[in-house]
């Protein structure tokens, strides 16, 4: 039986570091995107109210444009969901690389 040594502490350290890098980046990206989106919605709603008051758009058009905001919020949420799925895949692929490297280096 060959003398096989796997440094599990090193493996867990590397996996933890990988998760920290990927998910911290994702959380920051999601937070920045959400803040940008909210600022954009705020500006848009103010603009639409001004246009309605000035008679540049009808009440019907205003309602239609306000409905768009809900749809855009859904789109933004779906985008964030998708990018989080991407981050999970990056973590899984990175963890596989670490495990494979550990397995190869364990072979004497």
């Amino acid at each position: 039986m060959p003398n096989i040594k796997v440094d599990w502490n090193q493996v867990s350290r590397e996996v933890a570091k990988l998760g920290e890098d990927i998910f911290q980046k994702r959380i920051k990206g999601a937070t920045d995107d959400a803040l940008d989106f909210l600022k954009k919605v705020e500006k848009d709603v103010i603009k639409l109210n001004l246009q309605l008051t000035a008679g540049q758009i009808t009440k019907e058009e205003f309602d239609d444009l306000m409905s768009d905001q809900k749809a855009l919020a859904k789109m933004e949420a779906l985008k964030q969901k998708g990018l989080t799925q991407v981050a999970i895949d990056q973590f899984v692929n990175g963890a596989i690389d670490i495990l494979v490297s550990a397995a190869i280096s364990a072979i004497p």
Binding site: M1, P2, N3, I4, K5, V6, D7, W8, N9, K40, D44, K47, L48, Q51, Q56, I57, E61, D64, L65, S67, D68, K70, A71, L72, K74, M75, E76, L78, K79, K81, G82, L83, Q85, V86, I88, D89, Q90, V92, N93, A95, I96, L99, V100, A102, A103, A106, I107
Partner: protein, 206 residues
């Protein structure tokens, strides 16, 4: 701190052997056999470790892979089967960008009567359908498809969805649209397309 797995493994094998020197063949147990004088002694082996398992499994196969490596391989196989979302696709990205450009260009024409632009409208609708169908055919692409649904599909339960058909319907009913309304709508449609494009460009490269 490194763990000497082979030492732990050897101790377990010896301990199992002490407890059950000749285990029944149906039980998965390790044992230590003394080599037969004719074969093992010639190869210089002092002891041979074998596995008594179900007859269908070759007894020596798993011995090629040590116990910690087995754990690692199992973890790798489990993780490898857990992909969440499709990889980046250049054609899907190009479809989304082309559709966005064509859609915004068509919206500029909404100051003209709807009936006079029917050929252009049909062309853009066809382009959207192609982009949608392309993304629909990709595996693990549900999130992008849901985004296309919000953009393209009307749903009575969600009247705020279907950004594009709602615009076309208003254009058709009104005949022409005001430049201010068109400009506002263009911003919204551009934001919706940008979300699809951003997700596609953010996907992992295979």
């Amino acid at each position: 701190m490194a763990i000497d797995w082979s030492d732990i493994y050897s101790r377990k094998v010896r301990s199992d052997h002490r407890r059950c020197p000749q285990p029944p063949a149906c039980q998965l147990k390790y044992s230590i056999k003394q080599p037969e004088p004719s074969s093992a002694s010639q190869s210089g082996l002092n002891e041979v470790v074998s596995v008594h398992s179900t007859p269908s499994l070759p007894p020596r196969f798993w011995m090629l892979v040590s116990e910690p490596l087995r754990g690692l391989l199992l973890a790798v196989f489990l993780l490898a089967s857990c992909s969440n979302i499709a990889f980046y696709d250049q054609a899907a990205y190009a479809n989304a960008v082309d559709t966005k450009v064509q859609t915004l260009a068509l919206m500029n024409l909404a100051v003209n009567p709807y009936s006079s632009q029917s050929a252009e409208i049909a062309g853009v609708n066809l382009q959207m359908q192609k982009a949608y169908e392309y993304d629909r055919g990709r595996p693990m692409n549900q999130t992008t498809l849901q985004m296309w649904d919000v953009l393209l599909k009307t749903d009575p339960e969600h009247p705020d969805e279907g950004l594009w058909p709602r615009f076309l319907e208003r254009w058709r009913k009104s005949g022409t649209l005001s430049p201010v309304f068109i400009s506002d709508k263009k911003e919204h449609l551009a934001t919706a397309f940008d979300a699809i494009i951003a997700l596609e460009s953010g996907k992992n490269r295979s």
